[in-house]
């Protein structure tokens, strides 16, 4: 009898639910953050608020684990089965837009005028995706280390030069107090390599691909500047400043355990570093000749090409762009809010907040990864080249081979629409 009551109750509830929903058109949405409770809470809050705020649309969320997300979207697209709203990693967006998986957003550009450049997903002159946050990378170290090694504290206006940076590594190595002077994060294989290391190449004056045409990597990835970068990169390992293969546990805890003097790490790890040492400082990227650079663009929201209701999907994304949600996300994930006004609403990024320096860094030094559909392949080629050089491969031959592979791929794809 009790079971029957519950079943009837459930039935009634679901009937009531569907009647209520009939007035609203359902918009499906895919998100990459399955298993991340903090993100899910904020996102669900946005969806609940949006569904309650108007009578036309009702967003339904489906979450995927990040590792399987891109494959799921590709598989869904091949099966003609994409949701209305999807989220996309910034550098991957041009690939999906070019392949016809996404359509431009119906959001007025004045609405995002105050956004950082990284979170704006532009392709072919149109806005395809927009992010609520960005990420930044810095040199993490301790004030006491800088004092002890008698190093100048670099600033955004006067970052370390190549000589100063190398001098800092040498001084840290000579002090004998650290297992390795520098922790570039070799354990984080995958997107970390192009995200964190291609700005170093760009600071030397090279690039993954020639951005003036996007038709070739010749000269960008194997020119003089790239060769200088390659030699310097290999030197990090042959000089014993860094280790070419790293235990993932050391990546996570090595700095806190005092193994490394300097760690090249993202703002998402900054709170941990602050907990480890009171005097942790976040130094801006060095300038190797062509200006200090750090990567930009994180996960962003977009609308799938096959969506029947792009106006509703865009309405939801526009709704999510409110400062309070940007601040909520930043507070739960530690990522950088996309606007200055949202940053002021957070504990970490407000004026004088412990991570406020990251907002300034991304504002000053951010450079998005190459905006081309070929980036997906170019990122893999770049990652392998850097790993090989770190392991002792010949610099010129490796960069030449990487250049050839990227060029062959561009050619095979008819120039990727550039």
């Amino acid at each position: 009898m009790k079971h029957l009551t519950i079943a009837t109750g459930a039935l009634l509830a679901s009937v009531a639910f569907t009647t209520l929903a009939q007035a609203q058109t359902t918009l499906s949405m895919w998100y990459h953050g399955a298993g991340n409770e903090g993100e899910a809470t904020v996102l669900n809050q946005i969806i609940t608020d949006f569904n309650a705020s108007q009578g036309d649309w009702k967003v339904e969320l489906q979450s995927f684990p990040q590792a399987a997300y891109n494959d799921s979207v590709v598989a869904g697209a091949l099966a003609g089965n994409l949701p209305d709203i999807l989220d996309v990693d910034g550098p991957v967006m041009p690939n999906w837009a070019w392949a016809g998986y996404m359509q431009p957003l119906q959001i007025d550009e004045t609405k995002i005028a105050n956004f950082l450049p990284g979170p704006r997903g532009m392709w072919d002159g149109k806005l395809y995706s927009i992010g609520l946050w960005d990420a930044a990378v810095s040199i993490v170290t301790r004030q006491s280390t800088l004092d002890e090694l008698k190093l100048r504290t670099p600033t955004l206006d006067a970052p370390w030069t190549l000589e100063e940076f190398n001098g800092a590594l040498e001084a840290a190595k000579a002090s004998g107090k650290f297992e390795y002077a520098f922790d570039p994060g070799m354990a984080w294989t995958g997107e970390w390599y192009p995200y964190a290391f291609s700005p170093l190449l760009q600071s030397f004056g090279g690039d993954i691909v020639d951005r003036s045409t996007y038709k070739t990597a010749e000269g960008a990835l194997n020119g003089d500047a790239a060769m200088a970068f390659g030699a310097w990169w290999q030197g990090l390992f042959t000089n014993g400043y860094a280790q070419a293969t790293q235990d993932p546990a050391d990546r996570d805890n090595g700095f806190a355990a005092g193994k490394y003097a300097f760690s090249w790490n993202g703002n998402w790890a900054a709170l941990g570093a602050l907990t480890a040492f009171d005097d942790t400082v976040f130094l801006p990227a060095p300038d190797f000749g062509a200006g200090a650079k750090i990567g930009a663009a994180s996960w962003q929201f977009g609308v799938s090409a096959k969506s029947q209701h792009p106006n509703g999907a865009s309405a939801f994304i526009e709704f999510a762009l409110q400062d309070k949600y940007l601040a909520d996300f930043a507070n739960t994930t530690g990522l950088i809010p996309a606007t200055a006004s949202a940053a002021a609403m957070t504990d970490n990024y407000k004026e004088g907040g412990p991570l406020a320096v990251y907002y300034d860094m991304t504002n000053a030094n951010a450079l998005v990864r190459p905006v081309t559909p070929g980036y997906v392949v170019q990122a893999k080629v770049f990652e392998k080249a850097l790993a090989d050089i770190a392991n002792g491969a010949d610099v010129a031959a490796t960069l030449d081979a990487a250049t050839d592979e990227i060029n062959a791929d561009i050619e095979k794809n008819g120039g990727y629409g550039h």
Binding site: D71, V74, A77, N95, W96, W98, A99, G100, Y101, T189, A244, T245, D247, D250, V376, V377, K380, V381, K384, A387, D388, N391, G392, A393, A396, A397, D400, A401, D404, A408, D409, K412, N413, G414, G417
Partner: protein
Amino acid sequence: MASQFLKSNRTGWLMAGPAAFLIGMFIILPFVFAIILSFTNQRLISPNPTEFTGLSNYRQLLSVATLTLDPIKDAAGVMQKAADGTLEYPAIRSFTRGNPDFAHLAGMREWFSFGWGESRTYVLARDVVFLTALVNTFIFVLVVAPVQGALALGLALLINQKMRGINVFRTIYFMPVVVSIVVVSLLWRFIYDGDSGLLNNLLGAISFGAIPRVDWLGNPNTALGAIMAMSIWQAVGFHMVIWLSGLQTISPTLYEAGAIEGATKWQSFRYITWPGLKNTAILVLIVITMQAFAVFAQIDVMTNGGPLDSTQTIVFQAIERGYGKQDISGGSTISVILFVLVLSISLFQRWITRERP
């Protein structure tokens, strides 16, 4: 005659039907696709139309060329020597990049080289990574097939006896087979860790620190060997069970007769056990060979083909290209090459182990 065959076997066909359908749908059909795609420029994601490109994918993968160079001589004709006393040769780069006199070498890369008197011959390849993967896979098969087969036979002989608690041993040896290869690979990554890994600690303890720490997976000289050792350990239990089933089909009366004749242990193994295991041996050999050619998960979890391509394998490259680099045609081409290799090797194995009249 054929219709008679089909009719009288109607029940048989009915029972085989579901399996035949599934194999057709999910193995044969995709494979036919792979063959077709290998002659096109099909991409995983692309708005561009697919075009037939003939054999270009195969040419891209398999092209090799040689280049023989004389040492650099100065104006007086004296050969230049590097700081370490070796002869210096012109940079390969000056021939393979933008050199119209060597247009056929454009875009090629040094695979390996060997000295030939004073001159030096360079073997250049268009796709060094794939050829390295091919060689690595062959090394992997040539080591794993005999070693794993022999170890499995040894274990099977050990546990093929009536003894209390023998099932405990059987379970222990079989356990790694039941655990997912991904989990096993993750665990062995910790074991092989260059810093605080179990293996380094163990070697250090038994040698009182005399054996230096080795970064097993980070060193190009040890990475493939480390993966081979782990792979052999992981699947040895499976083949042990197959050997065991073969052992148990041998009639005990043969051993009794042998014992009465005064056969030694070695003799009864050589003249009773081994001939009785012939068909099992063929099965084990072919299965291990095929499995070893398909080595993928270990590589994907433990090394990603690195360091310096020392653990690239054929299947890893097929998947890396097809999905990672969105080049379905390239991945398909590698799969077809692998299929031809495995098929010819299996046929060869079948032929040398055939029944001789």
